[in-house]
């Protein structure tokens, strides 16, 4: 308001100034109302699906077959029923193993590669970087046939998650790329100072660079954890033949098959699969948002 009056230091009488200020205030209020109405409508679009899924998940079997939106009686026992479904606990264990071990191996194997790509000078560096980006963009379906034959016929490891976990010990293209993008922002003086102090490259990486790169490492770890948690194609290819090796994302689909029209139990299971990811997000919100920004803005 003060800005509008200041930019117009005309000879207007006091009464017209207050009228103008009043109009500006009204416009600002209208603008506030309009913008926030749109925001509320958008929030409904984003949040109502969760609400409906939750409301159906606590309905009785009979009511879940109707088009009702609100549960008559709240059947919290549905969650217990889902939990006691044969195999459900095993899916949890498998998913945690895949996501936990996969994330750990990815970080350990990708960090040195990213460091070399960001801080070493060598011939073929740009070529290597282009190869990383090509791998990052490669749909997993392109190489799946020979890989499946290899894991099935040479190592007899199909029917387990190992064909998905073991490759993560050999660098993940997306993680390498993201870590490199972040490491580029660390001034090379830090590396040089460490060298002068007589640090070996590995010591420099672990003692000097890693503490500074912690937010990026956290973001990459989260991305990789989510990737494993969400992966459907991988378990479908390698684990589908052995129900004991299924993950939550793969098992969830069969849950609907076993409980044909029981939308209440299926939706309870759906929420149980979503919950850990969302809880994890609230604990690591900052790292995650920074990571998403890193994918698009830096470079």
């Amino acid at each position: 308001m003060t800005v509008t009056t200041m930019t117009r230091p005309t000879t207007a009488s006091p009464s017209t100034t207050t009228a103008a200020a009043g109009a500006a205030r009204r416009r600002a209020v209208l603008h506030w109302v309009a913008v926030h109405s749109v925001a509320v409508a958008a929030a409904l679009f984003f949040l109502l699906p969760f609400v409906f899924v939750f409301l159906t998940s606590v309905m009785s079997d009979r009511q879940a077959l109707t088009g009702d939106l609100w549960p008559h009686q709240w059947q919290w026992g549905n969650y217990l029923k889902v939990w006691q479904t044969p195999g459900f606990l095993g899916w949890w264990r498998n998913t945690l193993l895949y996501a936990g071990l996969g994330t750990l191996l990815t970080i350990v194997s990708s960090l040195p590669v990213a460091y070399a790509l960001a801080k070493f000078r060598f011939r073929g560096r740009n070529l290597a970087l282009m190869a990383v980006i090509s791998m990052m963009m490669l749909p997993p379906q392109v190489t799946v046939i020979p890989m499946y034959l290899f894991w099935a016929k040479q190592l007899h490891l199909t029917g387990s998650l190992w064909p998905l976990i073991i490759p993560m010990a050999f660098g993940d293209a997306f993680s390498i790329f993201l870590l490199r993008q972040f490491l580029l922002t660390i001034p090379k003086e830090y590396v040089e100072a460490a060298r002068i102090d007589g640090c070996g490259e590995l010591r420099t990486l672990l003692r000097v660079i890693l503490p500074m790169a912690r937010p990026a490492v956290a973001a990459v770890a989260l991305f990789q954890f989510f990737y494993c948690w969400n992966d459907y194609f991988g378990p479908q290819i390698y684990a589908s033949e052995n129900e004991g090796a299924w993950t939550l994302s793969y098992g969830l689909e069969s849950f609907k098959g076993a409980h044909h029209t029981d939308w209440n139990l299926t939706m309870a299971a759906t929420l149980l699969v979503m919950a850990p990811v969302i809880v994890l997000f609230f604990f690591a919100q900052k790292a995650f948002i920074e990571g998403v920004t890193l994918t698009g803005v830096k470079g």
């Binding site: 969760f50 749909p139 046939i145 994918t295």
Partner: protein, 319 residues
Amino acid sequence: MAVGSTAVPAALKRKHRRETARTLAFLSPWLIGFGFFFAYPLISTVYFSFMRYDGFTAPTFNGLKNWDYVFNHYPFFWQGLRNTLWLVVVMVALRVAFGLGIGLLITKLKTGVGFFRTAFYLPYLAPPVAATMAFAFLLNPGTGPVNHLLGDLGLPQPGWFTDPSWSKPALTMLAMWGIGDLMVIFMAALLDVPKEQYEAAELDGAGPWQKFRYVTYPNISPIVMFAVVTGVIQTMQYYTQAIVAGKVASGVIGGSGQQFEPGYPHGSTWTLPQMVYNLGFQRFDTGSACVAALVLFAISMAVTSLLLRRRSGFLSSED
């Protein structure tokens, strides 16, 4: 180094050799991974695309028969290509436009920014299978809340995932629900636009649209381009949501061997990556599956090279 090796002192040469060894050591996990999980399977895929192989008996040379089969006789090839193209055009365009709109909206908010940002971001976190199951329920024509509400408002109630002309729009809606990644990227870009440029435009009497057109857009257009290209690449790989939606809506779900109508309903959710699975793991036609994989590879690489050319910043290095 180009002066000739005799001019280089021995110590310098040793140092150079040590540095090469160090570089190789740091790169070694990825070098093995690149060879073993990228180069080898790619070459092997090319090899198998010329072989007749069912996975059990020994492969035999088959010439171009697999290629001829996939392009001219496999009933789902062109349909898959058409569907993927539809998704690439419509889904990517709507996702980018919607993501930009939501990003703009967030920057205009004065109250409850934290709440709205989290609310808009949350669906992006939902695992794809879970999100697809949720939408299959929300949009199911019989008892789904969406058609329930549409009915209350006296609006038509589409069959969504069970109607071939509504299944792709339903998938598009699902994709727009998970807009959180784009919102964050656009928000960061929008906050970087220099304030002075807006003030200057306001002094020139620019309206909201003109400010967007002449100040905002030129500043964020590289990010828009980035969102479009990565969106195209993601959509080329569109698999999980399409296959889960088809399975749930058709009512046929289960283990590995179970067949369901490809791309239910009427092939409308059938995408390129599903062909590799269908040919290789359901029809046990390894050769043709490799042809489909190579088609997917060629298209993905073409799009990727576009990304590398448009955003040379990708390859920028500091020293």
